[in-house]
């Protein structure tokens, strides 16, 4: 037993009434060291502890009481009715009391936290893909956004953005997993249709044409993407991509028509319940790839037209474009309409491929797109092609109002594509 412990034991004994001597007798070995300490301890036991004077004690007590009252009042006032109600409910339910201040602060923190977590989830969802858990949230967020967009032009643009998104998702899935997601393409198509429907509701002609031009540009870009994917993937997925590509072409064709006759959009929306082309066509399609129409030309046409239209209402479009009608009998006519000047050159090309004629209705619509000659896509096979008429570049008359939009044709003098696009692709696919 150490001296520390012995001392403690003796102190305990003395506190209980034992004498110093008794302790010393009990631990004779430590007696010499213990004695002075134990005497001092005994003295300490009888000493009067320091204490506040009565007046100081009372003063401090009063001061504290007043401060507590003030604090309680301040808390009460600050807490407000909600806090009072909470306390009452807490009393009823006999819930454990919690400090009011932190409780309110906690509620505030929870709100902030939920907001942050929510924002984070939405942010994460925004980058998700269809096969990921957050994807439904992304779609819900999108539809909320659509619903919250009040103006028609804004809606149209939003739908176009969403169409871009669907296609981008499809592309990622294709690149990552090698599969073409049909439902994504269908959604993409639906967004385009929704965009078109929104555009159709725009009363002012200028805005209408601007939106139409925007629509055409976006669809053109999407179509280019589809073309690229088409070139890069194998045959199995071809069908759907091809159908999508044709769909894009059909939309762009419609834009061309609408440039002449704004009412076409509405009519088309009504008369074409299912804009997506059937993939069935593709079976024969190894050949078909009419879609390639260069987007630039189309946009040009759309934008170009607005100038004449000073009238508030959308009147039938300028007849200027009409002349194209004269062009060859086949679908080729339409495309020519956009670029009047170009018409002559194109006409010969369009009819070229024999395969197109057999196509079903939908495909016919596309045919105008046969303009593929313009197709920008650089293909290895092109060179093989004999170019029937390199004309396209040359014919381009200055009259064309749209110099900007059509960079492609100018750049590439090689009309080489016109010959069966399909053929060219074939080598690739193989």
């Amino acid at each position: 037993m150490t001296l520390d412990a012995v001392l403690d034991e003796c102190l305990q004994a003395i506190r209980s009434g034992a004498s110093v001597e008794a302790c010393l007798a009990r631990y004779p070995d430590y007696a010499e060291e213990l004695e002075p300490l134990l005497h001092l301890a005994a003295r300490l036991h009888v000493a009067e502890p320091l204490a506040l004077s009565s007046s100081a004690h009372a003063a401090g007590r009063h001061k504290l009481g007043a401060a507590v009252e003030a604090r309680a009042a301040a808390t009460e006032a600050w807490a407000g009715p909600a806090e009072l109600l909470r306390r009452r409910v807490q009393t009823w339910l006999r819930l454990p009391q919690v400090r009011p201040l932190p409780r309110l602060a906690l509620a505030f923190e929870v709100v902030i936290l939920v907001a942050i977590v929510g924002a984070a989830i939405f942010a994460l969802a925004a980058g998700s893909l269809p096969d990921q858990p957050l994807y439904p949230i992304k779609r819900v967020a999108e539809s909320i956004r659509v619903a919250l967009t009040p103006d028609v032009p804004g809606k149209a643009q939003l739908h176009l953005t969403l169409a871009d998104r669907r296609l981008a998702e499809a592309e990622i899935l294709l690149r990552q997993q090698g599969r073409v997601d049909e439902s994504l393409l269908a959604d993409w198509n639906a967004e385009l249709r929704a965009a078109l429907a929104a555009i159709d509701q725009v009363p002012e002609q200028v805005a209408f044409r601007e939106l139409l031009a925007l629509f055409d540009a976006r669809v053109g870009a999407q179509q280019a993407l589809l073309e690229t994917l088409l070139v890069q993937t194998g045959d199995v997925r071809h069908e759907r991509l091809l159908a999508a590509s044709r769909t894009a072409a059909a939309y762009r064709q419609l834009v061309v028509e609408a440039a002449n006759d704004p009412t076409r959009v509405g009519a088309w929306l009504q008369g074409t319940p299912l804009p997506m082309l059937t993939p069935a066509v593709d079976l024969q399609s190894p050949t078909p790839t009419p879609t390639p129409t260069p987007s630039s030309t189309v946009t040009a046409s759309a934008t170009a037209t607005p100038s004449p239209s000073a009238s508030p209402a959308r009147p039938p479009l300028q007849p200027v474009l009409a002349p194209t009608e004269t062009a060859p009998p086949t679908a080729g006519v339409r495309p020519t309409a956009r670029g009047v000047a170009r018409a002559p050159t194109e006409t010969p090309l369009a009819p070229g491929p024999p395969t197109e004629t057999p196509r079903s209705r939908p495909t016919e619509v596309l045919e105008p797109t046969a303009t593929r000659e313009v197709r920008p896509t650089p293909r290895p096979g092109e060179t093989e092609r004999p170019k029937p008429t390199a004309a396209p570049p040359t014919p381009r008359p200055t009259e064309e109002p749209e110099p900007t939009p059509e960079p492609e044709p100018t750049e590439r003098p090689e009309p080489t594509h016109e010959p069966e696009a399909t053929k060219t692709r074939k080598p690739d696919d193989g």
Binding site: L7, R43, G60, V68, T75, Q97
Partner: protein, 205 residues
Amino acid sequence: MKMSDRAAASSRLAKISDAEMAGLLRRAQRYDRTAFDRLYVLYADKIYRYVRYRVQDQQASEDLTAEVFLRLLEGIHAFRVTERDQVAIFSGYLYRIAHNLLYDYYHRQALRPVAPLDEQVSDLSDSHRTWIERGLSDAQLHAAIGELTEEQQQVLVMRFFEDMSSADVAKVLGKTEGAIKALQHRALAALERILGRTEPRENLA
């Protein structure tokens, strides 16, 4: 100085269970005036004792003691009430408030706490008479305690003036019981040496 009724009451009330203390503190956290009053009665003298051994001026000691309870009022909402060892935990908490206030006080006054005993030990008595032979007043005793280190003071005060067991003191000071026993040994020995000096100062009342 006789033990007042108030001190007796405080001493009696000091025997509070952990559960009681937990309930008291929860009420205090709702700014219940009677709860604070009870806490004041329980601890005012203890805190004063703690302060008084370190501050020469009595008035300042009283003010500081009152200030400790106002600080408690400000901080009580953040105190985490538990069921276990609540009395010891709260005591430690209150002493810490006092300690911080003292630190501020020294800082304001540009004063230093009384130099720890070790620096004064060399100043030994030339008289060979013991304090027993000389006689020793309470005031002299308290003055001598005032020269101990803070830990030594606390142990002696808790053990002898507040009748706490070594185990309880250990809980409040956050030490082991063995450390407390060693500390009280050193404290008594140091106090004995101080009292052995010529004339203890007598400025504590």
